[in-house]
């Protein structure tokens, strides 16, 4: 396309975002250009700040602004139950459904030899340490129902056996290959209430 270089650059950057194709990227870029300058500056600074100001929670590896994420910092949460998820954004899906009142632990990935990811690259040692230092009675494994998510859940249930009273897995009902991210609240609710012991 024959557009001025700065516009071209913005379009290229936007089109790298997930779910944004060339056409959408163009539409967004033109909308930003048409809008007023303070709005554009504010968007730019929001994007610029996000990598500086957001880090992983020291305890659960969810997103946090300070040392700890809002969930870990909330005294009303039940610290005896930990829900294990693949990625920080999975926390927000579960929070939205308001079905779970315990704490989280983010693995920051899932076992996948094809992608070169083994158990060592995940936050499993940190989870083990939490089970030893915190008073946890139940661990809910909420990895995605993909084969990688299933393998990760099975692996965790094997290596953590005996370190916690009960290990449960979200009930099937989530379709295979579905992502937690795209699961509706009702299904998620059923998956939590119908969770089963390993």
């Amino acid at each position: 396309m024959n557009v001025p270089a700065p516009l071209e650059r913005l379009i290229t950057e936007l089109s790298r975002l997930p779910g944004v194709g060339q056409k959408t990227a163009q539409r967004l870029a033109f909308a930003i250009l048409r809008g007023d300058a303070p709005r554009a500056k504010s968007l730019a600074s929001a994007i610029g700040e996000i990598k500086d100001r957001i880090r992983f929670c020291k305890r659960c590896f969810g997103y946090a602004e300070g040392e700890h994420c809002p969930v870990c910092a909330d005294p009303r949460r039940d610290p005896s139950v930990i829900c294990v998820v693949e990625q920080p954004n999975d926390i927000y899906v579960i929070e939205r459904s308001a079905v779970f009142h315990g704490l989280y632990h983010v693995l920051l990935g899932v076992i996948s030899p094809l992608d070169g990811i083994g158990p060592d690259q995940l936050k499993i040692a940190e989870l083990t340490a939490r089970l030893e230092s915190e008073k946890v009675t139940e661990l809910i494994l909420a990895t995605n129902p993909s084969m990688q998510g299933e393998a990760t859940a099975l692996h965790l249930s094997k290596v953590l056996e005996g370190k916690v009273e009960s290990i449960t897995r979200l009930a099937r009902g989530l379709p295979v290959g579905a992502n937690l991210e795209f699961t509706d609240d009702v299904t998620l609710n059923q998956a939590f209430t119908g969770r089963q012991r390993f």
Binding site: I111, P113, L114, P119, A151, T152, L154, H155, K158
Partner: protein, 354 residues
């Protein structure tokens, strides 16, 4: 299912073809190299979005063109579906009732055909993997649980094979557990269809050859299909699999064999026997599809009559006339028996119907 309309633009040696069709038997005839197989390849592509002759899409596009188009009206369970397919070097794009189909797998699981083709016969006869995928295709169409188990198993197997080449095997027990879980589903369903086919094969083969004959499909799974037994087998196999760098036992190693009585296996069949036994399997699968799903696939029989003696030709033709499927037969030399039968003849010459 019935293909009610078929058109092809710049597909193989067809520049522009429009063909109204109906249920019944079509005899596609003409000299070699005129486009008989190309035409049924088009019908097959309309069902499966793939060719039975090549995996390279550019070979389907007419010389000098950049794209091919196939279009068809397909009737399934009394509903007409208008399908449109665009084939380019880069890939396939599909519309169903004018709506783009983003996931091609959803299209492929909709229509099914049964194919007999000399190359496929050769592959079926000589390669165990081809026989496995032959039954996998049908089972995946009949049974969505099988399709799911098979897809999952392929992922698990790939992951496991990659893992076996690495240092840290600590997650192997987890992968093996999934491997066995999905493997057991696959083995159970492969056993079921084998038993189902074996109830039909002797009758159909005897029907075709005109004499009482035994024919059995033997299924030899590489594991037992029992969760606990197979888990233990894989546990004991870990060291050998680590050395080999890949999974040594599992549904990906299962064997299907055809035997006539007295343990005479397929390797000892004559050309004609191979041909007629595979036809018997196809006709048995047709019954299975109809009984289990109420579905009558399009039947494509490419170069059907060569290497069959005249008795078999006659019996086969009679059998086909007893079916309610839409059937496409290609042949250079129509056998005399067909002259007295109600068939629609399509005479092909240089990419046109004359």
């Amino acid at each position: 299912m019935v293909i009610k309309e078929f058109s092809a633009i710049k597909f193989r040696n067809y520049q522009e073809l429009f063909l109204p069709l109906s249920a019944g038997i079509y005899l596609i005839t003409g000299d070699n190299g005129q486009g008989k197989t190309n035409l049924v390849e088009g019908f097959y592509f309309l069902c499966h979005l793939a060719s039975f002759r090549t995996s390279r899409l550019e070979q389907l596009i007419a010389f000098g063109a950049s794209q091919s188009f196939l279009q068809g009206v397909v009737n399934k369970n009394d509903t007409d579906w208008k399908a449109r397919i665009e084939i380019s070097r880069r890939g396939r794009r599909v519309w169903l009732d004018e709506e783009p189909v983003p996931k091609l797998s959803s299209y492929i699981s909709r229509f099914h055909s049964l194919l007999f083709n000399p190359d496929n016969l050769y592959n079926y006869r000589n390669f165990p993997g081809e026989r496995r995928s032959f039954y996998d295709r049908v089972l995946s169409f009949i049974d969505s649980d099988y399709l799911e188990a098979l897809r999952s198993f392929k992922t698990i197997n790939n992951q496991k094979n990659k893992l076996l080449k690495k240092e840290d095997l600590s997650s192997l027990p987890a992968w093996n557990r999934l491997f066995v879980e999905k493997g057991c589903v696959i083995i159970k369903k492969r056993r079921e269809i084998t038993a189902d086919l074996n109830n039909r094969l002797p009758r159909i083969l005897s029907n075709l050859t005109g004499k009482a004959q035994q024919l059995a499909l033997e299924y030899h799974p590489s594991l037992t299909g029992d969760l606990e037994t197979d888990s233990r087998t894989l546990e004991n196999l870990i060291e050998r699999e680590r050395q080999a760098g890949h999974a040594l036992q599992g549904p990906h190693r299962d064997e299907f064999l055809m035997t006539m009585p007295a343990g005479r296996g397929e390797a000892f069949f004559s050309q004609g026997e191979s041909r007629v036994t595979l036809l018997a399997v196809l006709l048995a699968l047709n019954e299975v599809l109809t009984e289990r799903m109420g579905y009558r696939p399009a039947v494509i029989l490419d170069d059907l009559y060569s290497e069959l003696d005249s008795t078999v030709q006659e019996n086969l033709t009679r059998h086909l006339h007893g079916l309610a499927n839409q059937i496409f037969i290609t042949t250079t030399h129509p056998p005399p028996v067909l002259k007295h039968q109600a068939v629609e003849i399509l005479q092909i010459q240089d990419g046109r119907i004359v």
